[in-house]
Symmetry: C2
Subunit: 327 residues, 2 copies
């Protein structure tokens, strides 16, 4: 039974080792960008979830490493393409892949990463390979759908809370659910427990994304690691903005609409004004309540699963990692 | 036993039907571009090869339709992304997807197509599903590698014939080999025959691509359907140019280098001048010889396979389709 830290170290080493194999492949212009993105410092939450899911049932976690690698490489493929679509300059405080190597490189290296993911899955030794690949494929399709909804929302102001939650479920949460369930499938867990772990991951993912939204507006810049207010400045349809538009008085609504429609707002002024409306409406408390709700659902699922209590500690640590982020 | 025409009609209908299912999915902005590219008129050579491969062993070709669909959708995914990378305006005489729907749409809709391909493969009823998905995954990786080599060659003038042939093997031929072998696997053919069909597809693919190169320079504009000389004008490192640079006298070589380096050449003059050097060197005959060679290899493999003679007719028709294109 490994601690979360031990799991993360194992994942870190596996990704680093495979990244060295990848960059030895030819043509090098295809694989150097893959090596680059995989080398950026990150939490490696998703592959850790694969191993944590596996480790609930079995100690031989190395058996689940190819599956963990598949999910990490897939996740990084989505980052390459999302960063092109979002026209982003920085990823993990470094230049995005398309800024560093050009857009064509980011498209094609992303593509090959998506197929490398399947090649790692195919290395998994399990009688349930079809189930594993089906789950992964379905999840990948959903992640694309989530990204499209997110882009669609940019040009809409009438996004409902329900639509938003569905979007982050697709864009973020299903991959966390898939990661845990992948670990469970590799460990040959029964179907009920696998389904429970998937739901645990969904709730964790929703909490995680809402937390991210909250930190972007109310976080501590030192802990959060980037400038506060980016979502507000970019008119992102976050849960905060959606709830604010839903609850606003006519006057508060026109204030929000003024800033949403302003062609050249002064950054600090726009952020402060929108936060002021958020504060009047108690948005922070509403979002914290929603997060607490998802965390409670996730914890309830942990309690319900037929897994030895001592095995559940890693999942509990993961929940705490999400719920203890500063805001 | 179906004729090539019957196979093509079956594939045409399957792609059309599935395209209607796809466009009913949400978010519609993700799936409308998929529907668009799948609706453009095309030969559907690759899915026809899947069914033809299957039909060598078994009559119930509908069983292989999901696999045929997987390969057609994958092929169209590569077209979406290649057209962005090549900055192409037209595909099959219609606006390319990124011109019609924007670059982000073409990236993300392409991505979802690559995953839809796997979902079709997963629908295949075969005890050899792992082999099927492994072949497909490996092929997809090779196609990305081929595209990268092709892009790398744009900025080089020292590409050897061997490098070029390896590039078109990866970019074009392996998918034809994969298509035929996929059909064979679905029909539970023995390993030797499956491998032979793969090699048949490789040789057919190499002949096909060289033929394409030849037609671009020496084709009949009416039959070929696009303007002659595009490759010459764009300095594409085709087999024709590579052999010409290899065989040229110092004077012919400087003529070629002059046109390759000219910043603003007059189109007609550049094409005529390069063709003139090609003619002096007998390039057309050399390329025809190479194509004939690959066709002969493909035909030799057909003869060697343990398949009833009457079943081989569709493959023979395919070879003739390639070798009878006008030049």
């Amino acid at each position: 039974m490994l601690s979360l830290k031990e799991i993360q170290d194992l994942v870190e080493k596996e990704v680093r080792d495979e990244s060295i194999n990848i960059v030895a492949r030819r043509p090098e212009n295809l694989y150097i960008p893959v090596h680059y993105i995989l080398g950026l410092k990150s939490k490696k939450l998703r592959p850790a979830l694969v191993l944590a899911g596996y480790n609930l049932f079995s100690d031989n976690v190395v058996k689940a490493l190819p599956a963990a690698l598949a999910i990490e490489v897939f996740h990084n493929f989505t980052l390459l393409h999302d960063d092109i679509m979002d026209n982003a300059d920085l990823r993990r405080n470094q230049p995005t892949t398309h800024r560093k190597f050009g857009e064509n490189a980011a498209i094609l290296s992303g593509d090959v990463m998506s197929f490398l993911s399947f090649s790692y899955l195919l290395q998994c030794e399990t009688p349930k390979l079809k189930e594993l690949i089906s789950l992964f494929t379905e999840t990948a399709i959903q992640v694309c759908e989530g990204q499209q909804f997110d882009m669609d929302f940019e040009s809409r102001i009438d996004v409902s809370a329900e639509e938003y939650l569905n979007m982050i479920r697709l864009k973020t949460a299903v991959l966390l659910g898939c990661s845990l369930k992948t670990g469970a499938i590799m460990a040959d867990a029964d179907d009920l427990t696998s389904a429970q772990l998937y739901e645990f991951g969904i709730n964790l993912g929703l909490a995680f994304q809402l937390q991210d939204d909250l930190l972007d507006t109310f976080g501590d810049e030192n802990t959060f690691g980037k400038k506060i207010g980016g979502d507000i400045f970019a008119n992102k349809k976050t849960y905060l903005l959606i709830k604010a538009l839903e609850l606003a008085t006519p006057q508060q609504k026109s204030e929000l609409m003024f800033w949403l429609g302003h062609p050249e707002p002064e950054r600090g002024q726009k952020i402060a004004s929108v936060i002021s409306v958020y504060n009047q409406l108690g948005i922070r408390k509403i979002v914290v309540g929603k997060i607490t709700n998802y965390i409670a659902l996730a914890e309830g699922i942990i309690q319900d699963t037929k897994v030895g209590q001592e095995r559940k500690n890693t999942l509990q640590s993961l929940v705490e990692t999400v719920s203890n982020r500063n805001y």
